[in-house]
Amino acid sequence: MKVTIIDYGAGNVFSVKAAFERLGKNAIISADAEEIKSSDFVVFPGVGHAEDAMAQLKKSQIDLLLPNLKQPVMGICLGMQLMCQHTEEGDTDGLGIFEDLKVIKFDPKYKVPHMGWNNLIDTKSILEDVNEDVYFVHSYFAPISKYTIASCQYQEKFSAALQKDNFFACQFHPEKSGEVGSKILTNFLKQI
């Protein structure tokens, strides 16, 4: 089984790799198109600023590759937001995998970033058996949509996870969510 974590200079790849290794799966970190295409599973992580990250994706042409992948793909945090149509962060157009879904900023009346452990609600698909706390850290969010497979409450209900066909995405960090996170990654690795 081959797991590839896409490396486009947007942080945190080391922790994601470590999480798969704790599950006994070897994950490689790569930006190479052939490497990515030939993987059984692809992970699209991301920490940082949407505009910079999107520019990096374009530079390495991963923006053209990613939406056409047929194997299970999991976006994490900024990775998830870039899989949407657009994000308010830097007024950036995303990959549009989650068509028409627009990522918006939390109301600064409340504490931003939304940082810490919060519980998943209304879960289905690969998160069906997961209603526990997972670790979030983000200032922008995707509203509830037809793609939502888990929600979370902070100010209002928002999308904690999304799915469209073989594309999965989490706003939270499964690699930092303790045993619950491991369970989620295990569920993802069952999607073939």
């Binding site: 920490v47 504490k111 970033p113 452990w117 850290v137 200032s139 930092k176």
Partner: protein
Amino acid sequence: MLKKRIIPCLDIKNGRTVKGINFEGLVDAGDPVELAKVYSQNGADELVFLDITATHEGRKTMLEMVKNVALSINIPFTVGGGISSVEDAALLLKNGADKISVNSSAVKNPNLIKELAQKFGNQCVVIAIDAKLINDKWKVFLNGGRIETDLELFAWAKEAVNLGAGEILFTSMDHDGTKNGFAIEALKKMSEIVNVPIIASGGCGNMQHFKDVFLESKVDASLAASVFHFGEIKIPELKTYLKTNKIEIR
């Protein structure tokens, strides 16, 4: 609901934990990786590692430690101490740290906060502030509390957030080590002034102190060191206690 976080803090020198640590069932209490694993298994929500090494060699050891911690635990952790440039921070983050905390270096060069936030995002940047009440004014101190500055705590906290800090770790030097409870009044005021998560630090001696700070102020997390290291407070018991007191806890 977003939960209140419990954060053990480990002081690191040359890759080893300092302060006498007396932890039941730990073969090598000086090994930060082993300690981190135990805390993570016991339900700590996050960890903070504070590097108090001054030498270049020690810094390299710290990077190695960060990498081993990231490989071993699956909860977030912050690394602080001696970070004075974007390059310093980049190395720690690349080796698996989730957040970096800056203290004296940010006071000396406030622009550092801005640079870090732009490069890594606000969520990555914790501003750590040590302060002491002097003539009714909270004064900011540097270099582990050794140097007094003219900065006022709340003004500095506000400025740091404006510059891009995504979280505040406030240690009251008046409370630190006393075990008489957290600086609740100052923490209350800070929650009114800034709109980022706040970590309370300094003064915790028993479980009730955690309850008080969560019920009376709007802090998001509480940090402690010795009460955890010496097993005076056990995290699973603390969490049960806080839950029975209607505090949202993981």
